[in-house]
Symmetry: C2
Amino acid sequence: MEFSVNRNAFLAKLNDAQRAISTKTAIEILTGLKLDLTDDGLTLTGSNADITIQTQLPVTASTADLTIESTGSIVLPARFFSEIVKKLPEKTMKVTVNDRYQATITSGSASFTINGLDAVNYPHLPEIDTAEQLTIAGDVLKQIISQTVIAVSRQESRPMLTGIHVTIHNGELLAVATDSHRLSQRKITLTDAPEVDYDIIVPGDAFRELSRMIDDNEQLHLRVAENQILFTWGTTAFYSRLLDGMYPETSRLIPQDSSTQVEFNAGVLLQAIERASLLSHTGQNNVVKLELDTDAQRATLSGNSPEVGNVEEELQFSSLSGEGIAISFNPDYMKDALRSFGQATIKLAFTQPLRPFTLVPSDDQGDFIQLITPVRTV
Amino acid sequence: MEFSVNRNAFLAKLNDAQRAISTKTAIEILTGLKLDLTDDGLTLTGSNADITIQTQLPVTASTADLTIESTGSIVLPARFFSEIVKKLPEKTMKVTVNDRYQATITSGSASFTINGLDAVNYPHLPEIDTAEQLTIAGDVLKQIISQTVIAVSRQESRPMLTGIHVTIHNGELLAVATDSHRLSQRKITLTDAPEVDYDIIVPGDAFRELSRMIDDNEQLHLRVAENQILFTWGTTAFYSRLLDGMYPETSRLIPQDSSTQVEFNAGVLLQAIERASLLSHTGQNNVVKLELDTDAQRATLSGNSPEVGNVEEELQFSSLSGEGIAISFNPDYMKDALRSFGQATIKLAFTQPLRPFTLVPSDDQGDFIQLITPVRTV
């Protein structure tokens, strides 16, 4: 195996494939990056067993200047290899692999020799034995991910909750995540929806990584097999394992009516929550309190830490109606939720002090809702 | 105590005083920021017992809009107080302290109350009972610090070596630091040098912190008392404890002649060292090797890790003379040293493979020298 290539073009592909590679894996070969060189071009593969990313540099790609001397495959230690490529002195680099799985990387007068592994032992790609696919725009998918992934559980005790529940039915995609303290749900109508019916749980980590890779104006193709999902765009393929099991039924958690409603600018409320939570973060009791006095038309936010002090702020709102209520909640959940609304005007709706309350955009079409469970305070 | 002030003007002063404050101190009152309000203005003091920074906001400072309602002193929890000030909603803020040492900070509709401490218990400032002072330009002092502090020891086993040895004699300032593996020495002629004679050890940490605070075009005044040094500029005073003891005699460590000389561009050599050290960093043996073949006029840099692989690079040099030599060294020391030369052409001079070698600017006037002790390899 021997090729020369434009270093920056190669590095861009290497960075993509490397996103899937973890240094912490127990499977030694997965700390490596797999290179496959054929007459068509170079394929780079990285995997952490859950996520696999494969990306290609075709021999026809003009800026890559890929020159193939001899084809072959090798697995190279990913971290070292990428650090080497980043620090090479010249625009062009050359890789030569000998039959003892040693790769020599040269650029200008610098020459590295590193020990690789036989590519034969690298795990096979997941098989996606379906032709059925649907298409989704990069910006739409990124928004769905960013709005739901915040509510994904970080705890492994209920593995299913570390995923996002995605159902596709009748041309509509519904994404829900909950860590049992809060929930986020996003719905979109697919523009290009064949007759597919999916009910899957995609790991939150996979969606986070995918989201970092895709451009807004990319069109992604999505295919689902028994326990795998595959996203393809351009010359990149992104595989993720799906989570097993039945996701809990979440639709009944969302209250259908409310007794108190208040409207805020999400950005302004976020800043006030950040102030109110400054002190509460120190105590064991990370809680802020929102008091809505509908008679006096006052909204007051407060937080306190017995050791440090307290904070109180009267909030500006666009409308406030219904019954008065005082509610305490974890400010971190509220901050995550508010960030997902940007600078939009949002509506908060409450029923009882200890029952979940909801946040929706004021121009709500029923397509985005966040739910937070309050905290009992003494 | 009660005042209102422009929040950004206040925050700038607060950030300066806070540089001295450590959250790790065992002395509770030193986690606090001391505020003293007189009719002349506001004084802010922060200290970690070793370093003390005092800065002032005079009532006459026009952009600060300092309005004094009543004078007094208080110590406030520095970290919380500064986070609060940063997050306040309006341009102006107001601080009111009651007789239970509670401070109320208001801005717009936000109001914080935090518990402070009686300023009476705050340690007194070090006394500098001398009028003798000298003046040094900010950019000169920053350069001296950055060029020597790299060689300061990080280990507490020989406390003296955690400082920079500064001697001022006959209008000349000499700064030396060594961690016993390398040494850096910088000499300058003072433009404004009264008849002073100092031989002091300034803690490296103090110089690092000072360096971050000063502007290039600032003129600093320097005064030395028995165990303290004081730098003053503008409305800021920076005190540091001096280190006790006799600094080792270092002048005899610097070789007076050499048998091999080579000239490189410091920036180009730095990049090559970074490449050569990529692999060596993994092994226990963090060493790179420089081979100078004066007959063949070749300079070769190499590094290797038995597990990962090896790297070799032929280096470009401007001149190479004397006897051939092969020398091994810690690349981290070399990188630190090279960074201090920027893009200058430098001269490396060697005597024997296991004897210290030196780096000086090619246009050396004897004012800057770095020394590195090689490593024995098998």
